[in-house]
Symmetry: C2
Subunit: 317 residues, 2 copies
């Protein structure tokens, strides 16, 4: 028992005994077994996090925000990625819950029925991010993807454009991408404009190559298009390169906008107009929220709304 205490910093053990114990442990090559510790103390000191893709700067920022917020408390992150597949997400959630995390952070607000049920019954804080679901499971930290795109459409229309296209994935697997496309359609209709310039760019995650390919088709089928809003900065950059290859000048001949404020948006020539959803903030606030709940603080908000920022750059206007 004293050995156990010696490995905790806060407990009361005399310095001499602690030193002796740590010395002996080192000599014996002893490594603390947190499996047993977790079983006995019924806590796991980690947070489960699922993101759609491991290779995505936006989600990486959210994870970073989370990690930085949780590190001071010694909470580890168990990270899993779903490949934009709800069935895979369900499997992942099941695996994670078996390990008894202190809380679970998921991306998006849509899940399989079973996944939803497991989360509801888990008895731990559940935080949905990057979205504002109608009926959240527990806590929500996110923004309206549709609304953010609407603001972009409104901005373009206010600048006098009317023939605006949207490049995005061709399934609803990426629910945030689908929400952005729906937001585009709704905004165009609200402005009394034709929302039919939709270019499907393949299965998510659609990246630069898909954006370029989609832009090629757009230029061929709807050459009078004045502006293109892309589901992400990566596809927007791909679209931009296709314009460069074809000698179509951006922005004098065509405007391009992306989503996410990835590094490339700021540095591309021309710099890409985009939307910054403050991904780091999402993670940081999720971390703060988890700590609040774990500490039993009262009045922890169920819903935190992030306000994405419109960044108008050289690729438009």
């Amino acid at each position: 028992m004293t050995v156990s205490r010696a490995f905790k910093t806060d407990s009361s053990v005399s310095d001499t005994t602690r030193d002796a114990i740590l010395k002996a442990a080192d000599d014996l090559g002893y490594v603390f077994d947190s499996t047993a510790s977790n079983l006995r103390s019924q806590k796991s000191d980690f947070i489960a996090v699922t993101i759609p893709s491991i290779n995505n700067a936006n989600f990486a920022e959210t994870v970073r925000g989370l990690a930085e917020g949780l590190k001071p408390r010694g909470l580890q992150i168990l990270l899993g990625y779903t490949d934009y597949d709800m069935a895979e997400e369900e499997r992942l959630i099941e695996q994670f819950l078996r390990r008894r995390p202190e809380a679970i952070v998921v991306t998006g607000g849509r899940h399989t029925a079973r996944a939803r049920r497991m989360l509801e019954n888990s008895g731990i804080p559940v935080i949905e991010t990057w979205d504002l679901p109608e009926e959240p499971i527990g806590h929500v930290i996110g923004f309206s993807n549709a609304d953010a795109v609407r603001r972009m459409v409104d901005h373009f229309v206010a600048r006098g454009l009317s023939r605006i296209a949207f490049i995005g994935g061709d399934t609803t697997r990426d629910t945030r991408g689908a929400d952005r496309r729906a937001g585009f359609v709704a905004a165009m209709q609200a402005q009394g404009l034709d929302p039919a310039r939709l270019i499907a760019a393949g299965a998510p995650p659609i990246a630069m190559r898909e954006g370029a390919e989609a832009m090629g088709r757009l230029l061929e089928t709807l050459p009078d298009t004045q502006a293109v809003i892309c589901v992400s900065d990566l596809s927007a950059f791909g679209a931009l390169t296709e314009c460069q290859r074809r000698g179509v000048d951006v922005p004098s001949r065509l405007w391009i906008a992306g989503f996410g404020d990835y590094e490339i948006a700021g540095i591309a020539v021309p710099a890409l107009t985009t939307i910054n959803p403050f991904p780091r903030d999402i993670g940081a606030r999720a971390a703060a929220l988890i700590l609040d709940v774990m500490d039993g603080r009262q009045g922890v908000p169920a819903r935190i709304v992030i306000s994405p920022e419109l960044l108008i750059r050289d690729s438009s206007g």
Copy 2:
């Protein structure tokens, strides 16, 4: 006990009992506790993996290769990132080993003395990747970063260039980046050329912005430079954009090469000459190796050497 068996697919339980048990478990909201299972059976069904940065397409590919190879066996990945900091890596390794992973995969071949000792004494398979250390701890799957850059230098020299520069991080924190820079210097010297055109681009991870900034300084201080090799495609692309902003044509006025064969290298205009180190392969082979060791197969190789591929594209020649 029968309950325990009912949850394992292979054990012998009659269908009726199993159904009854699973039904009851579902009614009660029972969730299997893998903490207890792991403690009793002394195995953890996961693999620990450390990478320098979560937001890096190359390392993400390695993790993807690993995950795909391990999934058929139900092995999960516990992922941690070190921020290119060996002290942080040490902390991470200590945390991970406490959870008794089946194997551990680390990036790079340089670690703190204590981290190295912990890995050596861990009693589990240790796999170092993305490098070819002189004295590996256990298994190695990687390539010589210095050698890959040497081949690029040799190619440029064979094409008649002599005033070649290198853009990279200014510390040795990113050991692979430092190896690439060292490879550049050695190759230039071997060719009898001046290896002093070294532009320090800041602390890793250096990305697009740092590449652009470094290219700005290069163009100002060494305007007669004929070619630039960058420590990564991201910095190379940043450098390219700086050329575009300043009206310096690539490749007629200056050649640019990167490292990593990121998506952007293939799609940028002009497409970037680069080196493909087959990151997915590194992960896939690490997974296969782990399974071989876990199955007790004989003749598992201690050292697997990947041969990076030189990709000559429009940004050079």
